[in-house]
Symmetry: C2
Subunit: 220 residues, 2 copies
DNA sequence: GACTTTCTTAAACGCTTGTTTAAAGTCCGG
DNA sequence: CCGGACTTTAAACAAGCGTTTAAGAAAGTC
């Protein structure tokens, strides 16, 4: 009756659900909306996934592999370079994640949705999606600070960096109202990445100088 | 029948609604929950406020005056000092806003709720709650950069500063999972404010040096 | 004290949500 | 073909939501 177009029902549901979940989050998304987009009866969600929650985890599992592909590409390109270039690549990748609109960006959107309004899937998302990224940043910052510990002040530095990036995503509605002139095209994203990089490198350099001075004093 | 205890019904509803809205946001809060806490019939919300949306705006209006009292106190204390001290006061006040749990903090919690998941009240909140604060920061940053324009790169600096502060609020669930050791008691808040201040002052100083060099070059 | 206005109540309405049911359709090996 | 397993369908269910109704209580007014 309905032309299945070759794609299986399960796939069609996951595809539609990925889009809807990414746009509205788990709670505000409705199974009826998802099923309408997939051209499928609402009962299929129980049949194939056991329920809305099961569908959500299936969607996360499905898009985990393709997630952050473009971000990883940006980061990998700078793999062999110095810590400054790797920091800039990390920052550019963070900004890229949050403005992407294609299918690979759905997982990233779900991640930031989850950050703001957690569900039970948060633990899994943190481990598979956030921690690897965070560990990479910790490594770069350790290198830039010339240390190998992870004292609170080092983590503060990392949080300062990602905070600058993600703020443009969290607060985009407010920023748009406060400063209607600011746009977020690819060119602005490059300039913004450059700003955050320079800002952070200066902050890190100052922190290193201060910390080294304290170490020196303590060594006496 | 029910002992009104002297407080008017309207007040009891607004008090309960303030707590519930601050904790759950507009959408996830239910009128039944609010009315149960207020010990009041659900129909009273239509009678006194016209509906849930009217109650929400009434709550915003009611708590607007007491909002940010402690923050303003922190900021005013540094009013006569240099821009560095005023920046630190601003940062400390931002952190204070997000960890406060008393009644004066409800408006601030509602503000950040609104930032993450806007309702129609966002415009009013931005104008009355966010813009004054943002303008103050712009002033301090202008002073620190030695400029009086508000080019995009200056706004980027401001956004870098508030981003560092608010990230600890937006992403608190994720940060708690990533780094279980980090706590947010008053002492940590002071240290965090000091970190963000130093980090940002270094970033601003480097930005100023870079910008002045460009200006000088352009003047030739 | 009767009357009007203001306030409050219990109950139900209409809607949306996720879920479930029972019947019908589809597919495929025998 | 045919029969059983797998899919899909339309419809309804139960719960929660904001809202509304109609009747009653409380309080002020003449």
């Amino acid at each position: 009756m309905v032309e299945t177009g070759g794609r299986d029902t399960r796939e069609r549901i996951i595809e539609a659900a990925g889009e809807v979940f990414a746009r509205k989050g788990f709670r505000r998304a409705t199974v009826r909306d998802i099923c309408a987009r997939a051209g499928v009866n609402v009962a299929m969600i129980k049949y194939h996934f056991g329920g809305k929650a099961g569908l959500y985890t299936a969607v996360l599992e499905h898009f985990r592999s393709v997630a952050g592909r473009r971000s990883r590409q940006i980061i990998d390109r700078a793999e062999r370079e110095g810590p400054e270039a790797r920091l800039k690549a990390f920052i550019r990748a963070q900004l890229e994640k949050l403005t992407g609109s294609g299918r690979p960006a759905w997982f990233d959107r779900l991640m930031s949705r989850e950050v703001m309004d957690p569900t039970r899937a948060l633990d899994a998302i943190v481990e598979t999606g956030v921690r690897p990224s965070a560990e990479r940043l910790v490594g770069v910052v350790q290198e830039l600070l010339g240390r190998d510990d992870r004292e609170p002040d080092l983590l503060y530095c990392c949080l300062s960096i990602v905070g600058q990036c993600l703020h443009h995503h969290y607060a985009k509605n407010v920023i748009a109202r406060l400063y209607p002139g600011l746009a977020y095209g690819p060119g602005e994203l490059d300039r913004l990445a450059e700003h955050i990089t320079d800002f952070s490198l200066a902050g890190l350099a100052a922190h290193r100088k201060r910390h080294d001075a304290i170490e020196e004093y303590a060594a006496l």
